[in-house]
Amino acid sequence: MSVEAVQVALAAEHAAVWTYGLVSAFISVPQQSASVADGANAHRARRDVTERWLRDAGATPEPPAAAYLPPQPVDSATSAIAALVAVETDACVAWRGVLERTGDGALRTSALDALTVSAVRATRWRKAAGLTPTSIAFPGAGVG
């Protein structure tokens, strides 16, 4: 049961890695470029850890898709940031899904960390986009 949820989380991490790569060309504010680099590194690391967890559980990690569809075509800084808000929000949902499907303390701790850092980055990009409210009351709950 938790293997399927972790595969969903892995898919969200693949999408995040792909999207951070896609948007980097559209973001030129230095502080935001640094945040893009941080986010890309964090999702790559999370992807690798997640693949390792699946292999250790005897499962074959799902490979990434060839491409992912952002909520709107990415052709500007604004649409790039919207795509980042979307992938971080999706990652929150996927990792909360893992939490709800495992009683394993170590996996829960790791999933909480993934949920938390994605919630923080989603908030950072919401702030950059001028979205209100800036914060997310229940990250991963699928609403707000």
């Binding site: 929150c92 909360r96 939490l99 709800e100 499907r101 495992t102 009683g103 303390g105 829960r108 701790t109 999933a111 909480l112 949920l115 938390t116 919630a119 923080v120 989603a122 908030t123 950072r124 702030k127 409210p133 800036t134 914060s135 997310i136 009351a137 229940f138 990250p139 991963g140 709950a141």
Partner: protein, 136 residues
């Protein structure tokens, strides 16, 4: 006949000693922290934080109430959401440490809490982290 069978268990219930009180619900502590943060946020003029922590308190209290066994014969809910007075001399600088403490408090329960509660508790922890980022 029907009446007799219906009243007999009641009579037993009234004469047996009350069961020991259930152990305190760990989520009740999260409710207290959320209400205290909401009061602090209101006092220092951080309405978004106040709104989110109030929502946290409401959802957590709803789960505490759902899980708390009702004492037979009592109709009132076993717990009520007490209002928390804003602390005197509240400072905005106190808000971020309070939210960080609340994030840790909820996060510490995640490894062990029942699976039907873990999503809510984890979202409260991540929500506190989101509030800290929003305030930065």
């Amino acid at each position: 006949m029907l009446l007799a069978t219906a009243t007999a268990p009641l009579a037993v219930a009234c004469t047996t000693p009350p069961p020991p009180p259930p152990p305190p619900d760990p989520l009740a502590e999260l409710v207290k922290a959320a209400l205290s943060d909401a009061a602090l946020a209101t006092a220092v003029g951080a309405p978004e934080t106040a709104a989110v922590r109030t929502e946290h308190a409401v959802r957590l209290q709803a789960e505490v109430d759902r899980a708390t066994p009702r004492v037979p014969g009592s109709s009132a809910p076993p717990t009520t959401t007490a209002s928390v007075a804003p602390p005197a001399g509240a400072a905005r600088e106190a808000l971020v440490p309070a939210l960080q403490a609340a994030q840790k408090q909820a996060g510490d329960l995640v490894a062990s809490v029942e699976s039907h509660r873990v999503g809510l508790v984890a979202s409260v922890a991540a929500g506190c982290a989101s509030l800290v980022e929003a305030l930065s």
